[in-house]
Amino acid sequence: MHMADALVSPGVGGALWAATLGLGAYSIRKVTAEVDDKKITLMGVMAAFVFAAQMVNFTIPGTGSSGHLGGGLLLAALLGPYAGFLAMGSVLAIQALCFADGGLLAYGCNVFNLGFFTCFLAYPLIYQPIAGDGSSKTKSFIAAMVAAVVGLQAGAFGVVIETMLSGKTELPFGAFVALMQPIHLAIGVVEGFVTAAVLAYVRSASPELLAPGATVAVSSARPKALLGLILATLVVGIGLSWFASTDPDGLEWSMEKVSGMAELEVEGGAHETAAGIQAVTAFLPDYGFKSAETEEAEPSWPAIDAGTSLSGVVGGVLALGLSALAGLAAFGLRRKPRPAGTGKA
């Protein structure tokens, strides 16, 4: 479920980072307005709780496999959507940073898939209306189950869309959806079970935690704010894609820019410099923008694609070897004088 950096393009990653920052800023405003300093410790400790609780494996009845908690919906139910969203962001940050569970560039995607859909969609639009004041056990169970399933389905679809837009893999859309949605239906049911069980326990043991005062509802899902967010996401995404995407047009554009500038430099510089640069650039034929060629030539089956030249293959291997050598050399140099310091000042 967590997206890795390898699957994300800068455009998609950047756009969802921007969306996450926007939502985060909005949530912080909301949480600070609640004038309850206690929320800070509560968000931190509860985020740590969710992380730890994810480590509890439990058996899925009748399957022999095991599942665990995701936590977005639970956090929303305990802290309200805004604080819940921020806490979920914290959980995901710890996972990405300390455990490589989800990427850094993909962080925005993950917060969106696992935090936004659960806290701002599943909780206020599904869980709350169905569960009501939580007096009915059956209703609460159904609410948690439906909200968890919908939240995870939306999240899984988010993964598909983000991966497709990033274009790092050529998986057909249909196959990807057919793979992701059923898996996450199962995960959603598991999530629903756990969330419902935990909430039921909390309601019986310590009902004041789930009192209406503890959870601030999203007041009628502000359409304006949401629209603004979507627009901002689109703008950033398109903008970044234009600069950095693998899309041939964008790349050609940037290539022209760069090579144009390079030519300028050579022509405008003094003779010696120009000669020097040319000597260097002689080794760097055509600026090696072979990805553009690759992309352009690619669909023309059965014509054989240019792919990578032999010097590219050899050079790649050489680059790897040289990197390793550089590392070893640096390691050797560091080894000799060995300061015995441990703690960081």
Partner: protein, 274 residues
């Protein structure tokens, strides 16, 4: 779904934390320099096309040098890679199935999907490594300072730091809980649905109470909603140089096909044998 092991997670957590508290030419850099370099590295990798492999390879210089300079043993890194690799590899392995159009790689002709596959593997290795190196050198405190310096609101950063602080404690608690459960569940490792509520719910209530006590401890020491931290260290000349050197290198790798150039040089040296 994979089995999650709290004690192993805790061990991994301690390992990174321990690594980040060392001294080295990398550890001593300003956290903002380390964070910015990592961010640039990630963006550069992600900006490479779906089928680029050899072009990306010169980027390996960054993790290789950083590992060596920071004196970080790669064992922990490999463990990390192994834990995340399967899922991505599964997706990557589908590429050769769906992309059958042949491409030429040197003298060989292969399905284009293999290039996509190779590209994903390289990107996965590099991104996971870079993320690991960031935390192993800057540490969570450093990352937090980097985030603050980059303008992330204090509240979010404080919540993140507090999460980091209590993750270790609660993981230890979960380790004891699951062990106690295992000992009495006749060898079954998963927790049954009937005890799930009390188990996780109980942990939740204890965590909730702890949050209350932590808040009390804070307010008894003058906390008034404003979380004050010490002055950050100065962003010095070495930090600037560190940043510029790496950003410059990344830019060159992105704009110029170093691998191709290297190959040609090698060819020239070998007298055109290739």
């Amino acid at each position: 779904m994979k089995m999650r092991d709290p004690s192993r997670t805790l061990a991994a957590f301690y390992t990174v934390d321990e690594l980040s508290r060392r001294h080295s030419p990398v550890h001593d850099r300003h956290p903002l320099a380390l964070s910015a370099t990592t961010a640039a590295f990630m963006v550069v990798i992600a900006s490479f096309g779906r089928r680029e492999v050899s072009t990306i390879l010169p980027l390996f210089l960054y993790p290789c040098l950083t590992l060596a300079l920071a004196d970080v043993r790669p064992a922990e890194l490999f463990r990390r890679l192994a834990s995340v690799a399967p899922l991505i590899l599964a997706i990557a392995a589908l590429s050769p199935v769906f992309e059958t159009a042949p491409v030429r790689v040197g003298p060989w002709t292969i399905a284009g999907g293999w290039l996509s596959f190779g590209s994903l593997v390289v990107k996965l290795t590099l991104t996971v490594t870079a993320a690991f190196l960031l935390v192993a050198t800057a540490g969570m405190g450093g990352v937090a300072r980097g985030l603050r310096a980059a303008g992330v609101p204090r509240l979010a950063v404080v919540v993140l730091q507090m999460t980091y602080r209590y993750v270790a404690l609660l993981l230890a608690e979960v380790t004891t809980m699951t062990r106690a459960h295992e000992l009495r569940s006749g060898g079954r490792r998963g927790v049954d649905r009937s005890v799930l509520g009390p188990m996780i719910g109980g942990l939740l209530l204890r965590s909730y109470d702890r949050a209350g006590r932590v808040y009390d401890a804070m307010s008894l020491r003058g906390f008034d909603g404003e979380y004050r931290v010490g002055q950050a260290s100065r962003f010095g000349v070495p930090d600037t140089l560190y940043c510029l050197a790496w950003l410059g290198y990344f830019a060159i790798v992105r704009l110029v096909d170093l691998a191709e150039a290297l190959g040609r040089i090698a060819n020239r040296l070998a007298g055109g044998m290739l």
